[in-house]
């Protein structure tokens, strides 16, 4: 029983990390029809810079970590918005080229990160509490999971509020459903593109700092490996659906944790889940978007 609780809560914690990456991917794909292969790089860069700033503020302290998280959010948002403006916008409505450009940026940026921070992971110091555990129904849950889960819930709430309450949110919701008609109402949908990139980048940036908390290290490849799972989450959840991304994040991570514990085949279980979903429900769990 306590094992199951541990696996479930740990799974939800990992799912929180997946969600921070997948939410942006899903929004960007939903609105723009672009699968963003550079998304992992937003995460990695924010993770590195958040750590660099955080440790100067206070290595291993809460202050340092919080400043790092804030820096991660800002770096993620800025880099993502810049990517959209410089590389994606000139290729307006040429989706394959847009995907290819993000592929190139993804490859190039990882190489650059390796050049700057080296190929080996760097161990980082964290506030002591995060390394301790809390007893829940007899299971010792690592405390960093609470931080991850809390942040993901906050991000989900903020994105939902933004989408529901602001005029840009309205444009984005409409655009996910029918981008062409939005432009035919006289709205410059490209501005919404920059905004979803910034939002997705901010979430991924926070994810980058939290990934370093989860793994206890920063590395040039952190984003790439998370990105693949985030892709799978996005497809399972239904491309373009934020709710779908949230549900699928938790589902995929929990399945992965359970399968890893009972037989060590977590990655296969995830691939299997993807294959099953696509075969029986090709649009994903919550997907309706058809571009």
């Amino acid at each position: 029983m306590s094992i199951l609780v541990l696996l479930l809560i740990t799974g939800v914690g990992l799912g929180a990390l997946y969600f921070l990456v997948a939410s942006g991917l899903s929004l960007i794909y939903g609105l723009m029809g672009v699968l963003n292969f550079a998304h992992g790089s937003f995460l990695t860069l924010a993770g590195f810079i958040g750590w660099e700033v955080g440790r100067r503020v206070g290595d291993g302290t809460w202050g340092g970590l919080l400043v790092g998280m804030l820096v991660g959010v800002v770096v993620g948002a800025l880099v993502a918005a810049l990517t959209e403006l410089v590389f994606i916008r000139p290729l307006y409505e040429r989706h394959i080229e847009q995907v290819l450009v993000t592929v190139g940026l993804g490859l190039a940026s990882v190489a650059l990160f390796e050049g700057i921070w080296g190929t080996d992971p760097i161990q980082i110091r964290l506030p002591a509490w995060l390394g301790e555990t809390t007893d829940v129904l007899g299971a010792n849950i690592p405390n960093d999971r609470w931080l991850l889960i809390g942040c993901a819930i906050l991000v989900l709430a903020l994105i939902v509020l933004f989408l529901q309450r602001t005029s840009y949110g309205l444009v984005i919701r409409a655009g996910v459903e029918n981008r062409t008609m939005v432009t035919a109402l006289g709205i410059d949908v490209r501005r919404a593109f920059t905004i979803v990139f910034a939002i997705g980048g901010a979430a991924a940036g926070l994810g980058g700092v939290l990934a370093s908390v989860y793994y206890g290290q920063v590395s040039a490849h952190q984003g790439t490996s998370l990105l693949i799972f985030a892709f799978i989450v996005t497809v399972i959840g239904g491309l373009g659906s934020l709710t779908g991304a949230a549900i699928a994040s938790v589902l995929v991570a929990v399945i992965q944790q359970l399968a890893n514990f009972y037989g060590g085949w977590g990655d296969f279980a995830v691939v299997l889940a993807l294959a099953l979903v696509l075969l029986f429900r090709p649009t994903g769990l919550m997907g309706k978007v058809k571009h």
């Binding site: 040429r94 190489a111 650059l112 693949i228 296969f268 294959a275």
Partner: protein, 369 residues
């Protein structure tokens, strides 16, 4: 002259000429400083050129999927790895059986081909049930699963991170060792020509036309009573087998294989190569493959050059990362030269001919869902 060069026989003559020149390179003493590491007869240079040609062959097989059929697959590295690992593992499994080495070698090759065909057929059959980005994701997921299998030293066969070494006892002597690099070079050239001819035949066949038509307009093909699913599956499986052939050549050339060749990054490299060369052009895949490999090698040497090491960090770090430079080059090509190298060449020659302007390659127009 111009008309002759563009005629069927002219093209054949050019092709034969290029192959002939490539074939006699190991007998010549050509030095291209900055491009080749040494004279063309030295094993180091030959081995690098052979590697470049195998990558070109692999890129050609990927061209069938991406350029011809318009399917964005992120799993093609899986088939290259299947060829390399398949051959390596089967050789070491069959070696102790006591069969004559020649028989072991041929049997291993035959079984690897069957393996690639089955794998390509299965993955294709599942992945092709969806299209567009979902197809890309399924192929990525399968490739990822294959990568994990290989990395984990599954059943004690794949050797984990160490990879697999080839069992040289059962490989024909002509293909073993540095002294025989020349033969391996010819083998690589042969594989490239073989894959090229297979692509040519496939693209010219009725099937090739149907699959290309389905790329442009799926509905119209369906209305004509043709099933895009089957022809796509055939092309996918054929590309898998051709990719595996390149993988076997790689195994013989390098005498070992590591999990690197099964990663998603490796497939992305193929995508970069095909786009760099020019999507939709057979020659694009070849030129892209060779240019990319040479650049990759030379840029790595450049990184250790003294004048680079003396630069301030802001310049030194980007310049010492070949993949950074190649990635950015790729981005620039996508943004400003959509036809890639071959597309640019076409545009230049057409402009000189004063005729039509080059248009964007059709394959890029719409591959998405």
């Amino acid at each position: 002259m111009r008309t002759f060069l563009h005629s069927r026989w002219g093209k054949l003559a050019i092709g034969a000429g290029v192959v002939a020149i490539a074939a006699i390179l190991p007998l010549l003493d050509i030095r291209i400083p900055g491009v080749l590491p040494g004279p063309t007869y030295t094993p180091g240079t030959l081995s690098m050129l052979a590697y470049a040609m195998l990558i070109a062959a692999l890129a050609l097989s990927y061209h069938l999927i991406f350029g011809v059929a318009g399917m964005l697959s992120f799993g093609h590295a899986m088939f290259f790895a299947a060829g390399a690992y398949g051959l390596g593992i089967l050789l070491s499994l069959l070696a102790p059986t006591g069969m004559p080495p020649e028989a072991v070698f041929l049997l291993a090759i035959a079984l690897t081909l069957v393996l690639a065909l089955v794998l390509g057929g299965l993955v294709g059959a599942l992945a092709l049930r969806v299209t567009g980005i979902s197809f890309a994701m399924v192929t990525l997921a399968f490739a990822q699963a294959a990568n994990v299998l290989i990395r984990r030293n599954t059943a004690g066969l794949t050797g984990g991170e160490e990879g697999v070494r080839i069992e040289t006892d059962v490989v024909p002597e002509l293909l073993v060792g540095v002294v025989n690099t020349r033969n391996l070079y010819w083998l690589a050239l042969g594989i490239l020509v073989l894959v090229y001819l297979a692509c040519l035949w496939l693209e010219r066949s009725r099937l090739g036309h149907v699959v290309a038509a389905a790329r442009e307009n799926e509905l119209r093909v369906t209305v004509l009573g043709l099933r895009p699913y089957r022809v796509r599956l055939f092309v996918f499986a054929a590309a898998a087998v051709l990719g595996a052939i390149a993988g076997m050549g790689f195994m013989l050339l390098q005498s070992s294989a590591t999990p690197r060749i099964s990663t998603a990054d490796f497939t992305l490299t193929l995508l970069v190569i095909v786009v760099l060369g020019g999507v939709g052009y057979r020659w694009g895949a070849i030129v892209g493959g060779i240019v990319y490999t040479l650049l990759d090698q030379r840029l790595a040497d450049l990184a250790s050059a003294a004048w680079i090491q003396g630069l301030p960090d802001v310049l030194r770090i980007p310049l010492s990362e070949p993949l950074f430079l190649l990635g950015m080059l790729f981005v620039l090509v996508v943004m400003f030269a959509p036809g890639g190298i071959v597309g640019l060449a076409h545009r230049v020659s057409r402009r000189r001919g004063g005729a039509r302007d080059a248009t964007r390659p059709e394959a890029l127009q719409d591959v998405e869902a």
